[in-house]
């Protein structure tokens, strides 16, 4: 039972980790707390659902072509929505030519963007939540019946280790790319001093857009791994809770560290799975409580150096 909960929690946590990675990327580069990032994840997923499955989807397996289209749509929607949010809601309030960042401005811009994404989706969709077939068909990868036996009894959905594996690979790869590549260096240069970076020939504005684009791509991947869990339907309001869980993960990992964000995601995922064991409704409350307590008690220890 416990092992099952922990492994399931890790799989849920790797999704949080990918969302947290995007949050950290934006926070580290622009000193902006991306309050709408979770909404971008869910909006990307629903873009795929609306286009491929329609407004009243049925939970039958997708054909390979449809699955590929769905995956591509979600990735593209994630990247584009994130870039649009960055461009419209955040960029006008960033520091510019001696003017300080307008914090009230970008906070308001991001909550407006998140609210708009949530409520417009809710207006388009007749139901609050949807059970969606797994676009990646991860349960067919291991074992035909989609269920794995665990030592000490208990079973595990076959997609769980697959989600964990894919998520970790993507997360670690993204972390390496962001640390090593020219793009990663440009990001850090902009983070340190946007004006100096601009003078050194780093196209600051393009880097800002790219940071949102990269965060959105990670959000799309997270969205793909998030959907298709047979035990859970995807709801319009999931985005906020996913986003805030990811923020807790990013803070837990020491905001600013990409590897920390991924590890923090795994920790929050396990916490969430254990909380569900105690009482099902604790699952969504635990990360929120963790975030509020973290911010109240240990802010200095979490501040990026």
């Amino acid at each position: 039972m416990l092992l099952q909960a922990v492994v399931t929690g890790l799989a849920g946590g790797v999704v949080l980790g990918l969302v947290a990675l995007g949050f950290t990327l934006v926070a580290g580069t622009l000193r902006v707390l991306h309050l709408a990032h979770g909404d971008v994840v869910v909006a990307a997923v629903f873009t795929g659902i609306l286009v491929v499955l329609g407004r009243t989807p049925v939970a039958t397996a997708l054909s390979p072509n449809h699955a590929a289209l769905f995956a591509l749509l979600v990735l593209a929607a994630g990247a584009l929505l994130s870039a649009a949010v960055g461009w419209l809601a955040v960029r006008p309030h960033l520091p510019d030519r001696g003017r300080d960042a307008d914090v009230l401005g970008w906070v308001a811009g991001l909550v407006a963007a998140g609210l708009l994404l949530r409520e417009v989706l809710a207006l388009l969709l007749p139901q609050e939540a949807y059970a969606v077939p797994d676009p990646l068909r991860l349960d067919s990868l291991l074992g035909s019946d989609g269920v794995l036996g665990l030592p000490f009894g208990g079973t595990l959905a076959a997609r769980v280790p697959a989600v964990l594996l894919i998520g970790l690979l993507v997360g670690l790869l993204a972390e390496r790319v962001l640390v090593r590549s020219r793009f990663g260096k440009a990001l850090r240069a902009v983070a340190d001093d946007p004006d100096a970076a601009f003078l050194c020939g780093v196209p600051s504005r393009r880097v800002v857009s790219l940071a949102f684009l990269a965060a959105g791509l990670l959000a799309g991947i997270a969205g793909l791994l998030y959907t298709g869990d047979p035990g859970r339907s995807v709801g319009v309001d999931d985005g906020v809770l996913l986003g805030l869980g990811a923020v807790a993960a990013a803070l837990l990992g020491g905001l600013g560290s990409l590897r920390g964000a991924l590890a923090g995601g795994l920790a929050v995922g396990v916490l969430q799975a254990l909380a569900v064991q105690v009482r099902p409704q604790y699952g969504e409350l635990a990360p929120l409580l963790l975030l509020v307590v973290l911010l109240a008690v240990r802010p200095a220890g979490l501040r990026r150096a």
Binding site: G109, V111, A113, L116, L123, V240, L244, V292, P299, A300
Partner: protein, 558 residues
């Protein structure tokens, strides 16, 4: 519109006015007022008649206090970070409270919420009182609360509290460097905001006899946020207009979801309007008589005002300062020079209490200072630093900016409360503060531009204003980080005489400067830093002839 609707709108206005204190006056992005409204409402319902059976007044008071305490706790950590973290903390709280209400239907009544009998009776057997709280009674009660809050906010804004708030909203980092206790002020502000939110919730549940999760959801938090953003900074009528908008919202959009879309669109509209409004916003310029010649004097008369011994400091393992000694004497201008990256600004940060050194001690006027300290405490001990970058409070006149300094330096106990009550002592304090401000403006030759828009100041005047703000704190040790940066030759001459004048009045001035002509003209002693170490310390001529200094500046001789 029925009396019930009016009473409900007025209770909502209480929450909006409370939120305005945080958002408009203190510049804090608080996204969780709905959570505090929920705590006040649900708390009153759970504790009062029909719940735990407490008397209604007591239950409501307990719920309001609980909301206030919750606000304080949420701000506890986040108030020490950048303001945006408060947005995160309060937004998470809004969702936590909402989802908690839904997660425990046995306690909170699920989606239907808690139902109580209405109209409620305010009963006190000992006073023989049985008051029926009709909608009309609510209108009076909520209306009086609103008027009181508006009057308090307006009076608050004109006194020492208003200076603190202006500094918080326009330049929190600057405020901290001038001695304003930023984190404590933020906590106080959020506590008051949350308590008023709680009061609003308590009033509403007593009025309607119902509190349901959807009425206090995160959407309410965002709607209140929009409502207070409408008026821009420190306009008391902003929340009134905003709440009026919220009251007509149900007629525009009939479902919760549609209201969400309208709220988001309103938020976007407000953001656009806000930028337009901010563009031609006139700076309120207080008319002020010319400052009389008033002397600036140090707090203490000691020959050695600051002594730093064996200071070591590092960032991320890189050693920035190593075993640095420095002595600043009263009545002297002391220059600190060295190549870029030699540790000058780091040393200033250590002396100003902004960076904890790994090694060494700092004594101010003969008293050793605690290692873990803050800029506020150091200002009170008598040491103040001006930032290297020009930092202005963009919407405050020079007089007001210098007043922030004066307020930061001398913080009489309960000054805000005394001002609100208009005690005689608050008037004496205000007169004393005005003299300090006049003296600082006179000492920095800024009397003529004291009431203009700060954007109209020349670069040199802006740099002098930083000095004036520091002088107004009453500190005896001024740490000036490149005050002449960007100044014209004339302005440098003015700065020279300003520095001589300040030193002549007994202050100790530490001048970080690259302009050697200025340094040689005013400094009696020069300390040279290179790679975090003191390589020379002495009179200008002795330092100029020091071979190590020449190597550091001109490279090794061939």
């Amino acid at each position: 519109m029925s009396l019930v609707d009016l009473a409900q709108a007025l209770w909502l206005l209480v929450a909006a006015l409370g939120l305005a204190l945080s958002v408009q006056y203190a510049g804090l992005p608080v996204l969780g007022q709905g959570a505090f409204v929920a705590v006040g409402g649900v708390g009153t319902a759970l504790l009062g008649p029909g719940g735990a059976g407490w008397p209604l007044g007591l239950a409501a008071a307990a719920a309001v206090v609980t909301a206030g305490v919750l606000g304080h706790l949420v701000a506890l950590g986040a108030s020490r970070l950048e303001g945006a973290y408060l947005a995160l903390a309060t937004w998470a709280l809004a969702w936590l409270v909402y989802r908690t209400l839904l997660a425990f239907p046995d306690t909170f009544g699920g989606a239907q919420g808690l139902v109580r009998s209405s109209p409620a009776h305010l009963v006190s057997p000992s006073l023989g009182l049985d008051l029926v709280l009709t909608p009309a009674a609510h209108v009076v009660l909520a209306g009086l609360t609103c008027v009181t809050v508006v009057l308090v906010l307006r009076r608050l804004d004109r006194g020492p509290g208003g200076l603190d708030l202006a500094a918080l909203r326009e330049g929190p980092e600057l405020a901290a460097s001038l001695g304003v206790p930023v984190a404590a002020r933020r906590r106080a502000v959020l506590t008051a905001t949350a308590a008023l939110g709680g009061l609003s919730g308590a009033g509403t549940v007593v009025l309607l006899g119902l509190v349901a999760p959807d009425d206090v959801s995160p959407l309410l938090s965002l709607q209140l946020f929009v409502a207070v953003l409408v008026g821009g900074a420190t306009r008391w009528w902003g929340p009134v207009l905003g709440v009026a908008l919220l009251t007509v919202l149900p007629y525009l959009a009939d479902t919760q979801r549609a209201r969400g879309v309208v709220t988001a669109l309103l938020l976007v509209l407000v953001l656009v309007l806000r930028r337009l409004l901010a563009r031609d916003r006139q700076v309120a310029a207080p008319v002020r008589t010319r400052a009389q010649e008033v002397e600036v004097r140090p707090l203490t008369w000691q020959p050695v005002l600051l002594r730093a011994t064996g200071i070591g400091a590092s960032y991320d393992g890189v050693r920035a300062l190593d075993d640095v000694d420095l002595v600043l004497r009263a009545g002297r201008v002391h220059a600190l020079i060295g190549p870029n990256g030699s540790g000058k600004s780091t040393l200033l940060r250590v002396l100003a209490g902004d960076l904890v050194p790994d090694a060494g001690t700092v004594e101010v006027a003969g008293t050793e200072q605690p290692v873990r300290t803050s800029p506020q405490d150091r200002v009170r001990a008598g040491v103040v630093r001006t930032p290297q970058r020009t930092v202005l409070l963009p919407r405050s006149t020079p007089v007001r900016q210098v007043e922030v300094g004066a307020r930061g330096g001398s913080r009489p106990r309960q000054a805000v409360l005394r001002h609100l009550l208009a005690t005689p002592s608050s008037r004496t304090a205000a007169a004393r503060a005005r003299r300090t401000v006049d003296a600082a403006l006179a000492a920095t030759r800024l009397e003529d531009v004291s009431a203009v828009d700060p954007a109209a100041l020349t670069v040199g005047e802006q740099r002098l204003l930083q000095v004036a703000r520091a002088v107004a704190t009453g500190a005896s040790v001024l740490l000036l980080d490149e005050p002449a940066a960007g100044m014209t030759a004339d302005e440098r001459a003015t700065l020279r005489s300003v520095l001589r004048h300040l030193a002549g009045n007994g202050l100790a001035v530490l001048l970080v400067e690259h302009d050697m002509r200025l340094v040689n003209a005013v400094a009696e002693r020069i300390t040279v830093l290179d790679a975090g170490r003191v390589i020379a310390d002495g009179s200008p001529t002795a330092v100029r002839d020091d071979p190590r200094v020449q190597t550091a500046y001109l490279g090794a001789p061939a």
